[in-house]
């Protein structure tokens, strides 16, 4: 399988990191913390899955954080103020966000503009739209919300596998299958290898671009719904800066920003690594705001450096036996 070695390396890094943390704070090695890790990072895992497709195809999507924010506000207003049944609100907002992503993809393809900037404009647009809807945070009291947020599979050892964690896991699995087993997935890699070549080989590059950004925004919409479950509210400032966390998770997961390589499972591991860093810092609890930032940076560096070292080590024997391949 292509992409396996980097994933394996990321997994090793995660396990090693987890073990080190657990040595210092034995409480970390509990199903409770693992359950929390999954629940707390559910929305991140979902957007990161979409972002993986975008990045592998050689693009980037900066709008996801804003789309999450917009979704929470829209859902909250729809349910609480406009009296729309939750399910209808979800369908509407997902349709809206998918259309938004499709529009960005179309602009990127038709006008041949850099995704970074188009999605940056998308980020402004979605955030601006959520301000227009409501600047106040709107609590959601619909019964579905308490049902869903109360639902959890009890894990041995007191941990809880919550509904949103399960949704995230399902989406990660679904994303992995889509990316690795379907024609769509192969085309995503093809686009990342080279748009021009993919086009010469008969891939409908325009359609693919639209679909990929549509998928990303759609998943950001789901992440928004999950976020609204997580907080039982809609708030225009929620998930600010999440796009960078997401990109970091994807890249830590072994996906190349230049496109063409990567995997959803790797991204999932990247999300967990980020969650672990956060958990570690929380467990420590003595860090001031600034030391928190510095520690986050240092840990980020440590993980990436460790990963690169492992990759270098893993690559060496190959080079020896067969010469350097590009």
């Amino acid at each position: 399988m292509k992409g396996l070695p980097p994933v394996l390396i990321t997994a090793i890094v995660l396990v090693a990191g987890f073990a080190l943390c657990a040595v210092q704070f034995p409480n970390i090695a509990s199903t409770r913390v693992v359950g929390n890790l999954l629940t707390d990072n559910a929305f991140l895992g979902i957007v990161a899955t979409g972002m993986t497709f975008v990045i592998i195809s050689g693009g980037i999507d900066l709008s996801v954080g804003s789309v999450i924010g917009f979704t929470t506000v829209f859902v909250a207003l729809a349910i609480e103020r406009w009296g729309v049944p939750p399910l209808v609100a979800f369908v509407a907002v997902l349709a809206l966000s998918a259309a938004f992503g499709a529009a960005m993809g179309a602009v990127i393809h038709v006008f041949d503009l850099p995704p970074f900037i188009v999605t940056l404009a998308g980020m402004f647009l979605a955030r601006g739209a959520s301000f227009l809807l409501s600047t106040e945070s709107v609590p959601i009291t619909a019964p579905v919300y308490s049902t869903v947020s109360d639902f959890a599979l009890r894990l041995p050892g007191g941990g809880r596998l919550t509904a949103i964690a399960i949704i995230m896991l399902l989406i990660v699995i679904g994303g992995a299958l889509l990316l690795h087993l379907t024609r769509f997935g192969a085309n995503v890699y093809a686009l990342g290898g080279s748009r021009a070549t993919a086009s010469l080989m008969g891939v409908a590059v325009g359609k693919m671009t639209v679909k990929i950004y549509m998928l990303s925004s759609f998943l950001a919409g789901i992440a928004g719904i999950v976020f609204s479950f997580y907080t039982s509210a809609g708030y225009s400032l929620s998930a600010v800066g999440v796009e960078l966390d997401t990109i970091a998770a994807v890249v830590i997961g072994g996906t190349l920003l230049t496109g063409g390589q990567g995997s959803v499972i790797g991204t999932f591991l990247g999300v967990l690594i980020q969650g672990l860093i956060q958990t570690y810092i929380n467990f420590d609890g003595t860090l001031s705001s600034w030391w928190t930032k510095i520690a986050t940076g240092v840990l980020l560096f440590a993980f990436i450096a460790l990963q690169q070292a492992l990759v270098a080590v893993a690559r060496r024997p190959v080079a020896r036996s067969a010469g350097a391949a590009s």
Partner: protein, 330 residues
């Protein structure tokens, strides 16, 4: 050398003119200028003055992007250098303050450059590390408060005037000329463009691509540090929490509006600065318009898209007209 002059800046200049015209509509006194206390005073001067930090950032950023990189840490570097400058301002001379602040920027650039060119990390994550940790370092220096100072020298840097122009604007202009002279007066510009265009081929042609990459990140760090000092001097205090926050995105935007591709290669310093001015003209216009702040982002999104579409190679709009003009001239 032609490089300091815009070869293909028509779309940007037109965009600027259109936005200026819109500003004039929303705010009738937009072009008013008067002299007060030896300095010019008016919205146009505000645009230049407020645009200075992003313009400085974009001077460094454009070189980084030309090598196919990106630097997310510039905002954090601004915070660090501002914090250092503010902490030293009242106890040391301006030379020491500047040396320390710019030196810190240089170190930050070295770190980024080291991660990218020596360790081979992807630029976006490599600089993300300093983006996160750097703001922490800045807050560590100020301990989270706003460190104020009264040193007249440093205050002058932010609020003084030379020949009627605010000092920051003069500094930015000086930096543009200096960068232009260094980059285009030496072979640096060509070698940077070659590195960004095709690093492997350039390496094989004998270009020291690693050194190029290191150099541009260092320069980017220095520019960001200078922007940070100016931002601190402007408010007579270092606000480590907010200085330069999200400005990296504005700087990248300015560079792209200035026509430099995020895939590296060809770059234009002057157009990047023009890009920064376009952004600031829009921002100032939004502030003057009197619309509720809830609309700010929407307006920004629409303007950014419009400016980009003007430049789209696929749109038979301005790009086409520009090409035809150029052909007619040739």
């Amino acid at each position: 050398m032609t490089a300091l002059l815009p070869r293909r800046g028509l779309a940007q200049i037109l965009a600027l003119i259109v936005i200026l015209a819109v500003d004039r509509v929303v705010s009738p006194q937009f072009f008013d200028l008067r002299l007060q206390d030896g300095r010019l005073f008016g919205s146009l001067i505000d645009v230049l003055n407020r645009g200075t930090p992003v313009a400085l950032l974009s001077l460094g950023m454009v070189l980084v992007i030309a090598t196919r990189g990106i630097d997310l840490s510039v905002g954090a570097v601004m915070a660090i250098s501002g914090a250092i400058a503010a902490s030293l301002a009242d106890s040391h001379g301006l030379a020491v303050v500047l040396a320390a602040a710019l030196g810190a920027g240089l170190l930050c650039g070295l770190w980024n450059g080291f991660l990218v060119s020596v360790l081979g990390m992807q630029p976006i994550v490599a600089t993300l590390i300093l983006m996160v940790a750097g703001r922490g370092i800045a807050q560590l220096i100020t301990e989270g408060r706003i460190v104020t100072f009264t040193s007249p020298d440093l205050v002058w840097l932010g609020n003084g005037a030379v020949l009627g122009l605010p000092v920051p604007v003069a500094i930015a202009l000086g930096m543009l000329i200096l960068t232009g002279a260094v980059v285009r007066g030496s072979a640096l510009g060509l070698l940077i463009e070659a590195t960004g265009g095709n690093a492997r081929a350039s390496e094989l042609a004998g270009v020291g691509t690693r050194a190029m990459i290191l150099a541009v990140y260092v320069w980017c760090g220095v520019c960001a540090a200078l922007a940070g000092v100016i931002a601190a001097a402007d408010i007579m205090g270092a606000d480590a929490n907010n200085a330069g926050l999200w400005l990296e995105l504005d700087a990248i935007l300015a560079v792209v509006i200035g026509g430099t591709s995020l895939f590296g290669g060809r770059f234009s310093l002057i157009l990047a600065v023009l890009g920064a001015l376009i952004i600031q003209t829009m921002n100032t216009g939004i502030l003057l318009s009197g619309y509720p702040p809830e609309f700010n982002l929407l307006v920004k999104a629409v303007v950014v898209l419009a400016v980009l579409l003007l430049q789209s190679p696929k749109l038979p709009g301005l790009a086409g007209i520009a090409a035809r003009l150029r052909r007619a001239k040739a």
